[in-house]
Amino acid sequence: MNIDFLIDNFADLSVTGLAQGAIYALVALGYTLVYGVLRLINFAHSEVFVTGTFATILTLRGIGIGPDDPVPSLLMVLLTLVLASIVAALSSGAVALLVERVAYRPLRRRNAPPLVFLISAVGASLVLMEIYALFLGRDNVRVGNLIKPRTQFTVFGADVTNRQILIVVSAVLMMVVLDSFISRTRLGRGVRAVSQNPDAAALMGVNKDRVIALTFLLGGLMAGVAAVLYDLNFGVTKFSAGFLIGLKAFTAAVLGGIGNLRGALLGGLLLGLAENWGQALLGSAWRDVIAFVFLIVVLMFRPTGILGESLGRARV
């Protein structure tokens, strides 16, 4: 136990934790959205995310920004970020839609029991993973050199870098957009209706298939943006990178209250913080253990998560 280290670096650890947590939160939205309407954990969501990490790298390569190139000008960086986000979001969104079509919709038509969906989900996840391994290799793939972290300001003694600001701001922005889409638009109200009472939603004239596809798409778009931020933050990805972040994002979703959009944000940030504090306290080998201890404890003592169903209006 290294309490002094934790205390001395508390602010720094917290800032790093928030940035990572913001990425978990964005990925967590995909689990939560799909769970909200289908009561199904889409285990292929981790590969939907990985799609975005590769799409980002390939976009950067296409522009000519490799891992060892110098950082381009600010304008170029911004344009590249926007382009990469669009490409990554659309790629992840497209794969998410594909998964829904191929792995789930046929089962829904046959009224398959939940376990079959789970098997199909794991299968889709493995297939995607192996496809990426086949085309992009089994090794780490490095991300183009786009941002050089530079301290912008200090809070409570913690250095906050441009990269961290970018990550947190983009993640929060995406969530605000999603949240208002769900609560303000007609389609968004359809999503909420299906998640709260599928039969009644059908009686209102909501097209359930369309709503389900929409939640996969929205989850995919969020995962794609998360993937860009992940690439910027960690600098590498891998065909199997989705496994760990997928499980952590799932933990974040459960922690906040699965099915609850704001819960995903809360769960992601909390998990990011806890991981970094815990790793300072116990040593970095314990980092990944923390997420799973959280998952087990939450499932045992408060399966509905922190916000649970209490936030009636914020629920999907």
């Binding site: 109200r189 909420r192 709260q196 009472n197 039969d199 009686l203 209102m204 009636g312 629920r315």
Partner: protein, 238 residues
């Protein structure tokens, strides 16, 4: 030609038969009621009409169109709206949002919503008082009003009501039936499922009696009210 025409409809849950070769018609402008004991298959019939429950055999025609296998949401667009049995509301949405969901399928909802809302609030002042409250926190009777009000927001051609009087105080039941007659006079055709056979037969133009999945009697509301065997079995009069 009848607005709704059901021909030899059968519905199964797995191997269990819930509805067996039921045929019935509802003409434009009518109030038709379907009565029967618990488990007779009334709700199952209603679910099949709305497209929530797949049918095993038989046909359903609405306004001349075969809708037997039409998706549920498209039936709503055709003009069929159901107030389902029990707690069919959206628990996490406010009363107001629940009512708005009723108009979800209407293209002209922006034009008609204010007037329709006003009409529902006039019929059920209680809903107006509670309009910001979450649907899930309403009392059973208030939820019942909400499902009826919500179905009206769709301005349906055919309104399907599954036990609208369930869980309501006797006074309110009287009001609900008056409201149904009023809606009907304004041009909405109604198919009404009821346990409260006396009330239902009193307002209905025609009625069907369902027993363990099959129609066993049919006639005008007043004829069935006077029928000794119906009186004994469904009205508790010897």
């Amino acid at each position: 030609m009848a607005l709704l025409e059901i021909t030899d409809l059968s519905v199964h849950y797995g191997r269990v038969r819930a509805v067996h070769e039921v045929s019935l018609t509802v003409a434009e402008g009518e109030i038709v009621t379907l009565i029967g004991a618990n488990g007779a298959g009334k709700t199952t019939t209603m679910r099949a009409l709305s497209g929530l429950q797949p049918v095993s055999s038989g046909r359903i025609h609405f306004d001349g169109e075969d809708i037997t296998h039409l998706r549920a949401d498209l039936r709503v667009i055709r003009g069929i709206s159901q107030a389902p049995e029990g707690r069919g509301i959206f628990p996490g949405m406010s009363v107001r949002d629940n009512l708005d969901m009723g108009a979800y399928a209407r293209r002209d909802r922006h034009l008609t919503r204010a007037a329709d809302l006003e009409r529902v609030f006039t019929l059920f002042p209680r809903l107006k008082e509670r309009s910001r409250q979450a649907g899930g926190t309403l009392s059973g009777g208030e939820q019942q009003m909400l499902t009826i009000g919500r179905a009206l927001m769709a301005r349906p051609r055919l309104l399907l009501l599954d036990e609208p009087s369930m869980g309501l105080a006797p006074m309110l039941i009287g009001q609900i039936f008056e409201i149904l007659q009023e809606i009907n006079e304004q041009g909405t055709t109604i198919l009404l499922v009821e346990q409260n056979a006396h009330r239902a037969l009193s307002v209905a133009d025609r009625a069907y009696i369902l027993e363990t999945g099959s129609i066993v009697a049919t006639g005008t509301g007043s004829a069935l009210l006077d029928d000794p065997s119906v009186r004994a079995a469904y009205l508790g009069v010897a």
